[in-house]
């Protein structure tokens, strides 16, 4: 593949997964941050959408999926199963993905609802989720090895447990995270970052955005030469967010 024209170092195609049905709160922020930071790093972003019934696009470089209400998850469930093979292939092949909340759950093995019915996931991630009556809501701070301190906001009633096939994204000094028992938040597998955190996640955690971008560029063009984004507001927004109550 050759780098793109018009002065950019190459084109990166970012696919929003089910933005129509899985977009509960600020998920557009993650797509926007990838789009703008790609530009600031000197690459040409191309934003794509995949909704229920669409043709699945070729040459996808980054995938982002958002949170969904229970109703949204029901709407996409069959379509997602029909794309399971494609998505598993992309994941195994190192395609960077950001999977938030509802999409995180559905990329796991299954979601068992409170009433005991089991919604199958697509098994990209070795995780399982159990619906509860307890809603976990509030500001969250997690400690990660790869991205330092990660800040966000959680709002979920499904509780997720990790299997041996994935690593946690981090541990939780403030907030709840995956579930109310083991103090872990999110999941990491190959180039996938999965998390319950809204906020939106990427604006105040540019290290994660740049990880996804670097992985996409290296995969497509062999090497990544970063630009120089101005992250002063991100630094200040993080300082103030970290001091806010739960």
């Amino acid at each position: 593949m050759t780098p793109g024209t018009s002065g950019s170092k190459g084109t990166i195609r970012v696919l929003q997964l089910y933005p129509r049905d899985m977009n509960i709160y600020g998920d557009w922020g993650n797509a926007l941050v990838l789009q703008q930071r790609l530009k600031w790093h000197g690459y040409a972003p191309e934003l794509l959408e995949y909704n229920v019934g669409d043709e699945f696009p070729d040459e996808v470089d980054i995938i982002v999926g958002g949170g969904g209400q229970d109703s949204g998850q029901l709407v996409i469930q069959d379509d997602l199963q029909s794309r399971a093979e494609t998505l598993r292939g992309l994941a195994e092949d190192g395609t960077p993905m950001l999977l938030i909340c509802g999409t995180y759950q559905l990329f796991g093995r299954f979601f068992k609802t409170r009433t005991g019915s089991v919604i199958p996931g697509i098994g990209v991630l070795d995780v399982e989720t159990h619906g509860t009556d307890e809603r976990l809501i509030g500001n969250v701070k997690i400690t990660t090895a790869e991205f330092g301190e990660v800040l966000g906001y959680e709002n979920h009633s499904g509780q997720t447990t990790l299997g041996p096939g994935v690593e946690p994204l981090g541990t939780v000094p403030k907030g709840t995270g995956n579930n109310s028992s083991d103090g872990q938040e999110g999941a990491r597998y190959r180039n996938i970052v999965a998390s319950y955190l809204h906020g939106s996640l990427l604006p105040k955690n540019p290290a994660i955005a740049d990880f996804l971008i670097r992985a996409a560029v290296e995969r497509k063009y062999g090497s990544f030469t970063p630009g120089d984004p101005d992250d002063r507001y991100a630094v200040l927004a993080r300082e103030h967010a970290a001091r806010r109550p739960r």
Partner: protein
């Protein structure tokens, strides 16, 4: 029957007012000692109770309904202090009943928060309900918007007379399918205005996103808002279209005027009063916005507009209704409980309309989240200061020759009004 609870409650109300206390404490006291007080008092009203609920616009719409009904000669009881919880209703009742517990009113029109309305209607089934919209707001309280829609459905199902629904909000309009008791009436919008009101399913859209699937055949509406002008609007009802002057600003307020008109017509039409269309319209044209909802103050001889923004649809509508050109702009974002703690909502608002003129000043506990948001929409930011008082002073000092506009969350608005009251006349809320 003489009840001891009313004089005691009224006494607590007086004492707590003297102490400058909250408006709900006397309500709490009377609820404790006399749990049947509210239900008993409201059930004596000849035309029953009308409940107004929904995410956006409850306060201004309730105010409109009250003024419309008063224009028809009805005595209306309402919870004016904005205390839209059950206890607040009980407290407001205590202020209005006589010492024997009698309420001199024909009808009660009550603004109720969605979650509290559910408890209220279980105890006092309303004769009328008006359900405005379901939008992403305070998801940290209610979890999901489908859950909020269920709360509104419950209010509708307990309504004994007429339910008035927003035809253009799919989650609200669908409630009609679940009802078999009450009559259903709709208020609606002209197709040409629909794009100004993205419903919640359209909110996610980034630029260039495809439109969602076409909506099915719409039911006829009792009142349709056809056009909004700079200081007037066209409403269609009874087969004709009338133009009326409007003191309210902002398309969303004027759409809520169609909602208020529909409810007032239902109430009058069912025998409460002979609805006189001319006096209804005159009353509508005179309604001023409720406290803090789109107020215009004067500072240094120039207008300063306060625009309350509390969720993405409200912020989008605010930006659309009040174009930036020629104005100095400040944005104040707090994240206290009443504002919502999650900042995700800022990412569902499109700020491109501010790009040409930039934003002069940012403030509030999440001023830097706002700065970051604007950076990603390529909007220039003048100054950022999380402290509201100095930020407001700098904003006013820096734009003495321009009209000014401040977009603010609820608690930021309270702080800004407090500061402004030191330099200009600000309406005092009781």
């Amino acid at each position: 029957m003489f009840s001891f609870s009313v004089p005691l409650g009224k006494l607590v109300r007086r004492v707590s007012r003297l102490r400058g206390g909250g408006s709900a404490l006397p309500g709490l006291v009377v609820e404790k000692i006399d749990p049947g007080f509210m239900q008993r008092t409201l059930s004596t009203l000849p035309h029953g109770v009308a409940v107004v609920s929904g995410t956006n616009g409850k306060t201004t719409t309730t105010k409109m309904v009250v003024e419309l009904l008063e224009s028809q000669g009805l005595k209306v009881f309402t919870n004016r202090t904005g205390s839209n919880f059950t206890r607040g209703v009980a407290a407001a009742l205590l202020g209005d009943v006589d010492w024997r517990g009698r309420l001199d009113a024909d009808i009660a029109v009550l603004e109720l928060d969605e979650a509290h309305a559910v408890h209220f209607v279980n105890r006092v089934p309303p004769r009328y309900s008006l359900l405005l919209n379901v939008l992403r707001d305070q998801l940290d309280r209610f979890g999901e918007i489908d859950k909020t829609a269920q709360l509104l459905q419950h209010i509708a199902s307990k309504t004994t007379g007429t339910v008035v629904l927003n035809r253009e909000d799919p989650r609200v309009a669908r409630i009609a399918d679940t009802l078999d008791g009450p009559d259903v009436r709709y208020f609606g919008l002209d197709d040409s205005l629909l794009s100004t009101f993205p419903n919640d399913d359209e909110l996610r859209a980034g630029p260039g996103s495809p439109a969602p699937a076409a909506v099915q055949q719409k039911p006829p509406a009792d009142v349709v808002l056809r056009r909004v002008g700079p200081d007037n609007a066209d409403f269609e009802y009874d087969g004709g279209t009338v133009t009326t002057a409007m003191k309210l600003r902002g398309v969303y307020n004027i759409f809520n005027a169609a909602a208020a008109l529909t409810l007032a017509r239902s109430i009058c039409g069912s025998g409460a009063a002979a609805a006189d269309q001319a006096t209804l319209l005159t009353a509508l044209s005179r309604v001023a916005p409720a406290f803090g909802r789109g107020e215009s103050l004067v500072v240094d001889g120039l207008p300063l507009d306060l625009v309350l923004v509390k969720n993405p649809s409200g912020f989008r509508l605010g930006l659309k209704s009040f174009p930036a050109g020629g104005y100095a702009t400040m944005i104040a974002i707090n994240d206290n409980y009443a504002d919502g703690r999650d900042m995700s909502w800022l990412w569902d608002v499109d700020f491109e309309s501010l790009r040409a003129d930039g934003v002069d000043q940012l403030t509030g506990s999440r001023a830097y989240d706002m700065a970051l948001r604007l950076q990603y929409d390529e909007v220039t930011v003048g100054a950022v200061n999380t402290e509201i008082a100095p930020a407001l002073a700098a904003f006013i000092a820096g734009a003495t020759d321009k009209p000014k506009r401040i977009f603010c969350t609820y608690t930021a608005m309270l702080a800004i009004r407090r500061e402004l009251s030191k330099i200009t006349t600000v309406e005092v809320v009781s």
